[in-house]
Amino acid sequence: MAVSTDKSGQKVWRLSDRNAQLARWFAWFVAVAVIMYCWQTISEQTTWFFVMDAPNIAGDIASRAMPPKWPYINELWEPLWDTINIATIGTLLSLFLAVPVAFLAARNTTPHKYLCRWPALLIIVSSRSINSLIWALLLVAIIGPGIFAGTIAIALRSIGFCAKLLYEAIEEIDEKQVEAIKATGASPWQVMAYGIVPQIMPSFAGITVFRWDINIRESTVLGLVGAGGIGLQMQASLNVLAWPQVSLILLVIFAAVILSEMVSAKVRGAII
């Protein structure tokens, strides 16, 4: 905020002084220039003739997809069950690795600042940077297509997410309680069990349910690369251009995701 005096001696109020304003405009200028350049690149690679035709094509697909082929739903129960299993087992598996990694990564519980903390952070970043579909792609190439590859892919992707949120929760604990347990002469493991774990339990449960909800959404598409679940049916239907089946599958996925989100919101509401 800057107040300056103009020529007639009147006070003028402005949000920021001149240099700050110039810097702000320059930043905007650079940002707009970069975005325009990027957009131009995209535009050059686009066949605008097809894009002009897009409303017709969209209308065409919609008319083919409606109404959904309801009887097909009987073939979807099993893939749906697989999808939910991939998400649930994947989340549980990831927790086995995420908990120790989180304790190694948190500043206040790590055994060694560099030797343990940095590898743990590296695990977290690598697991987080790589999408579960890429993990699935890789695992399908290594251990073959199927639900198992999908489960492991979900687990590998979830490690980083859960460990990151968990280690942030560990770093925010109240040290006084830990101190109090220590003062009773407790061993390090007892300090962990009675001083730290009760404090992070609510956020741990919250993180787990939150990730489970995300994993349901992710496991619906793993089938596209052959890693099991309802995505397999979608890929098959897309390949033969069976749009009524595709629209039904999309509806089922939509319902499953909304339901899982409601469950997760309810559980998190009960915990916190």
Binding site: A31, V34, I35, C38, W39, T41, I42, S43, Q45, T46, T47, F50, V51, A54, I57, A58, I61, W81, D82, N85, T88, I89, L92, V125, S126, R128, S129, I130, N131, L133, I134, L137, L138, A141, I142, I143, G144, G146, I147, F148, T151, Y194, M201, R217, E218, T220, V221, L224, V225, M234, L238, L250, I253, F254, V257, I258, E261
Partner: protein
């Protein structure tokens, strides 16, 4: 007092769930589900065993990633991913601000609120890949489909969190601006915007990071970006090229995360 001293009681940790019936039925229910779920998980162990060798080769590939032999493909794919990330984040922010305003119950009337919440729900429920498949079908192959997909996904994320933040703002500040006789736009600009701006910037940076990670998979369905190159590398079992791509992705994500950390620390 003396009674408790003469017969020391053993202290037990209080259980997480108080109601014993609920506790046991939850435990048994989840155990039963787990048994069923693991039972339906068919694992072809001989195939897994055969694959271990390939898995080992993949991990070894990280010690000698091959950036050179497919460099032009990697470079093109990466540039496309970065370009899609930047444009879609910008477009996503521009679109999600009005939708976020509309989805905040304290400033939007009910019909607008319901429409905006509906848009957010659809955008959040559909995975990026599914949207990308539809967009490729409609707009054709190439980065434009990826751009639209990522912008659409950004709307769901950003508007939802922005709306929640607006709902949490301090009423009295907005009220004070209103009392000066401000018009609706001025009210938003001086009463609401300063309160949510730091978080909006932080979330936008976070979304930039997510969009980059997502742009890496859109290529699998033909929507542009590095995913196509990565897919080809896996299909040909060229693990050293795949390792190189993954290393580049991780490095860029780490840089973005560091950058967004710096910017968030500055504005908050």
């Amino acid at each position: 007092m003396s009674a408790t001293l003469s017969a020391p009681r053993k202290w037990r940790k209080p259980p997480l769930i108080k109601n014993p019936f609920l506790r046991w039925s939850l435990l048994l229910g989840s155990l039963a589900y787990l048994l069923l779920a693991v039972g339906s998980l068919e694992v072809n162990w001989s195939r897994v065993y055969e694959g271990l060798d390939r898995g080992g080769r993949f991990i070894l590939a990280f010690t000698h990633p091959d950036f050179i032999s497919r460099w032009s493909d990697i470079y093109d794919g990466m540039m496309e991913s970065v370009i899609m990330t930047i444009t879609s984040t910008a477009a996503g922010i521009i679109i999600s601000i009005p939708i976020g305003l509309g989805a905040a119950r304290n400033i939007a009337p009910l019909p607008v609120y319901i429409i905006c919440r509906g848009i957010i729900a659809v955008s959040r429920a559909l995975h990026e890949i599914i949207v990308a498949i539809l967009m490729v079908a409609i707009f054709g192959f190439g980065p434009l489909a990826g751009f639209i997909t990522l912008s659409f996904a950004t709307i769901g994320f950003l508007s939802k969190l922005l709306a929640e933040d607006i709902e949490d703002t301090d009423r009295s500040q907005a009220e004070a601006i209103k009392a000066t006789g401000a018009a609706w736009l001025q009210w938003i600009n001086y009463g609401i915007q300063p309160q949510v701006m730091p978080r909006l910037i932080g979330l936008s940076m976070y979304r930039l990071d997510i969009n980059f990670r997502e742009s890496a998979i859109l290529g699998l369905v033909g929507a542009g970006g590095i995913g196509a190159t990565l897919n080809t590398a896996f299909d040909r079992y060229e693990f050293d090229t795949a390792a190189a791509i993954i290393i580049i992705i991780i490095t860029i994500v780490m840089c973005l995360e560091y950058l967004s950390g710096v910017i968030r620390a500055k504005v908050q």
